[in-house]
Amino acid sequence: MAEAVARVCISIGGIGTIVAVTAILLFLTWVVVPLFGSADQSLRSQAVLAAGERLFAVEIDEYRDVGFALARDGKVSAWRASDGRSIETTAPIGDGRLTGVSTRDPAGDMAFGFADGSVRLGSVGFRSTFSDAAGDVEFTKQLAGSETGIVGTSFVRRLPDGHFRSTRVEVALEAPIELGLSAAIVALDLSLKGSERTLVAMDELGNTVAARISKSENLMTGDVVVEIEKHPVVIRATERGMATRLLLAGGGNELFAIWDDGILQRHDLRDLARPALCEELDLVEGEGRLTAITFLIGKTTLITGDSRGRVRGWFGTRPTDALTPDGIRLERTHDLDIGSEAITALAASARGRIVCAGFANGTVKTFHVTSHKLLLETRAPNAAAVVALAIAPKEDGFVAIAGDTFLDWSIDLGHPEATLAALFTPVWYEGYAEPEHVWQSTGGTDDFEPKLGLWPLVFGTLKSTFYSMLFGAPIALLAAIFTSEFLHKRLKGPLKSITEMMASLPSVVLGFIAAIVVAPFVQGYVPTVLALFVTVPFAFLFGAYVWQLLPQRLVIRWAGTQRFLAMSACLPLGIGLAIFVGPLVERIWFAGDIMSWLSGANGDAVGGWLLLLLPLSALVYALTSSRVIAPFIARKSANWDRSKAARFDFVKFGAAIVIVFAIAWLAAQAVSGLGFDPRGGPFDTYVQRNALIVGFVMGFAIIPIVYTLAEDALSSVPSHLRLASLGAGATQWQTALRVVVPTAMSGLFSAVMIGLGRAVGETMIVLMATGNTPVMSWNVFNGFRTLSANIAVELPEAVRDSTHYRTLFLAAFCLFALTFVLNTIAEVVRQRFRKRAYQL
């Protein structure tokens, strides 16, 4: 009866676990999948307009209610987006004397150039207001029951809560700015950076002037100081004639003068008094003409379209071999499209890195620039050339004027930033010299390019696990073997419980201690800490050989507490030795200053290799000695007495130390002689919060678990195996190593694997003890950013269902997959070991 109940309970528990894990997996998948969904579009409305075909720009407001176009004659025409019905606007800008306009800032700011050489700043934009109670009454009457309507110069829409929102097009012009130009302005541009505005204008004679207008306000006095600085810029007219476009990039620090055949001259305007021509390049490269050009948000990446149908992206990089005076080279970094029809219009989004391209045959394509992804493709029903394009401010639509028709599409872009390629392969981000894996998910502004490369995080997780296990696993396993096979029974109980108590330390406490206490401490004593890794094992071995020198009767009598105490004394001995040796080593091999040695400033590579190769050389020595020397000595020493053998052993140990060092040193000389340097690999610049600290502190989390499980596995090896081995004349050491450990291998392996699982998923320690730096280097002296810590850090800020949010879930999914794969491998290996153990 009881058995039946137990069976049911266990079955329910087991099935429940499987269901729970599957549910988690399904949930993660459910959140992640939309990341890779495709974009949608639909034509919302189209209408024939009387705006004319010679346009500077077309725009639509953020609620997609009203559109306007700015014609080359200065006329501003506005219309209702749903049916193209005209809305009254102000008189034309400049009374027909408008000859040029700058690019329009998303807020509406732009500069206007006139036939008389004057330039005026101003804005053309939308203004939306919400009605109050009085307005509600008024608008209700005006709209006479309908949801939308045109009241005066405004478009009015009734909102679900009963209030009204009215939107109108506003034109504002400031007083002319005296630039000293007298002929008609043919090209000009305006750039805003905080309260600083940079303006550049060229008249039809080719005279060009750049001006910087800065405005600062004193909060105490309310005084506003406006400073205008203006200087001529020489733009050499070539045999091709004058430049036709001027564009200001980089917050007004760079001026691009562009010719229709695609030649671009880049001038450095950082010091306005001394503008410098930095480079000249060809945006078209060969036959063809430049037909459209626009900046992406942030005015750093230039998108060009030419008559051969190519849409390409360019931005300034800082290659080390740049020959330009300012070290920047404009490079073609994005090939978005290679079409056959000419590009006639380009438009960039004010929210993200989306760009729309309009073609001569009425096709409109939408791209995401960073990922090079073609998101959408559509065609104007009238198949006329696209004259002007604009993306709605909220990226929920775009409008085009094709021929005389206004077209309005609704779009849903989904998550264009996240393609598998963008997440897992190197991506060429704005300003970088080459494609790279980068994780930097958010910035303080909209023009930030999200960098969602997951590799640095996966790498960080692996690095953290590797160094933690490198430190924790050997200690835990050796401690377990010692406890189960060599430690006196009386001490075993308390020692094991003490170690298990270590496991109960909350990881946030460990992380806190690591960051506040351990990290600054270790930074102060790096050579000593490094020496510890050599001197402590040495001290224990030394102690063991000394113990052998004791008379046999004492060894037997002191086998319990005394031996344990003697062993404990080895630890301070090792530490003392390290304190003594550390600075010495630093002086001899690390040029007297390990910090600057690590950052590569001075010293040769020998010291580093010596340190790295010591364990390897010890291993080589141990293998050779057990294979070659040991049998020889065994034959020789067969009839020595115990004390003679012990003395010989002690001498042999001394020789071994010398030999191990000699091998390591020779190898180090050889390797560094070949020109290899560990700096740049496992060693590099020391950073206070680093993998060494994490490995050390994570040891506190891993060691107790691995130790307990491993010890249990060893203890559960049937004692008849042990007794048989001892009875056959094997020593305790031989029994432990050749009989007990192989039998318990499956248990030891699962102990390590559970430790590994803990290390992979550990969050708080790495969160607090590393700087969460998403670097990709194996350097043990710098930090990393793990998947788990990254999720903990960034999830609170991620807007629900945003790309960032879903990418974090993808990170969780990766973590899940990683542990799942690890555990599966572990289980397979464990089963194999277990089978072997059963055969014994």
């Binding site: 958010t442 303080g444 506040i516």
Partner: protein
């Protein structure tokens, strides 16, 4: 390499340092800002989620407010400015303190939910300071140098990367010491503001150690001699020093002192905002209205001074009150103390 122009200006700096020292003592709340007087019928819970920079500030205000209205309870969470929009949208907070202004994308999300934009109320002034260890001899940095230290894209035009203190002009013991970088996590408004203004919207180096809070940035710098980091001026301690900054190699170094924040000379002075969800054309409920009135009163602004930030001027207070629909006539008529 860009050299600090400081060597040419030792006298000017000493003078301005002296002057600023005197001024620092004299940070007083504008006497035209009225005192807060409690009203009837205020109760409920102040739930604030957002900026870590403003965490202590929100706590001080709440304590002061609770003294007047014992029935009011408070919950304050400060994990970073980026958590404020999320919380306001989800309705889990009625105040969203932010140390930067909201991004358009965040406003879009808010508007998608409510149909109108959130309202920003400036509450105080902060200077984003670049801190070094107290023993660090550096006299000042230009923004381009700060950019070269923190950013891998160097958008402000420094030609060389700055990796060691020697790259910033320090000599002797410091010349070959690597610079250890500390910063905030990306949820932080300070992170965003610094990214925008100090490194020209570039990218942080991967080696910037991200700390979960401003105090842990300062604490880390205090325990790492070769460190540099940034946070709001309110978190300054005796173990760290705020480095004077210059806009470019030609202009003079500006100390992180209040007069320079008010005069607009310090390159990284900013408002600290509280965002609220306020439907246009309606009145705020008494709790939120009174709480904001308290923040914008003499007592509230004295709390600002207490926390190491700088109070608003009477004019900005009047503008702020107007945005939340409080009659401002009383303020203009307010008699000096």
């Amino acid at each position: 390499m860009i050299k600090t122009p400081l060597k040419t200006l030792p006298l000017a700096l000493t003078l301005s340092a002296l002057a600023s020292f005197a001024f620092a003592d004299a940070v007083k709340v504008d006497s035209k800002i009225p005192e807060y007087k409690s009203v009837q019928g205020v109760s409920g819970t102040i739930k604030s989620v957002g900026s870590d920079t403003m965490n202590n500030l929100m706590t001080l205000w709440s304590e002061g407010f609770k003294k007047m209205y014992p029935a009011v309870t408070t919950e304050i969470e400060g994990k970073g400015s980026a958590t404020a929009p999320t919380a306001l949208i989800a309705g889990t907070a009625n105040f969203g303190p932010m140390s930067r202004s909201m991004k358009d994308k965040e406003i879009d999300e808010f508007e998608k939910q409510f149909g109108y934009k959130p309202t920003a109320v400036p509450t105080s002034i902060d200077m984003l300071a670049v801190f070094v260890h107290k023993d660090n001899p550096i006299q000042g940095l230009t923004l381009a140098q700060v950019d070269a230290v923190f950013s891998k894209t160097r958008k402000l035009g420094a030609e060389k990367d700055a990796v060691t203190w020697g790259d910033l002009g320090l000599t002797g013991e410091w010349s070959d010491k690597p610079i250890s970088l500390y910063g905030r996590n990306s949820a932080s408004g300070t992170y965003g503001y610094f990214k925008e203004h100090a490194i020209g919207k570039g990218d942080f180096k991967d080696s910037v150690k991200e700390q979960p809070g401003s105090s842990s940035v300062v604490q880390s710098i205090a325990s790492d001699k070769y460190a540099i980091g940034y946070s709001g001026i309110g978190y300054i301690t005796a173990d760290v020093r705020a480095v004077p900054l210059a806009k470019d190699a030609k202009s003079k170094l500006i100390e992180a002192v209040p007069e320079n924040a008010y005069s607009g000379q310090y390159p990284m002075a900013r408002f600290l905002y509280v965002y609220i969800n306020m439907k246009p054309g309606t009145q705020l409920d008494p709790l939120r209205k009174e709480y904001l009135r308290y923040i914008l009163s003499k007592q509230g602004q004295e709390d600002v001074v207490k926390d190491g930030y700088f109070p608003l001027t009477a004019k900005i207070v009047a503008d702020s009150l107007k945005t939340i629909g409080v009659e401002t006539a009383a303020i203009e008529a307010g008699a000096p103390r």
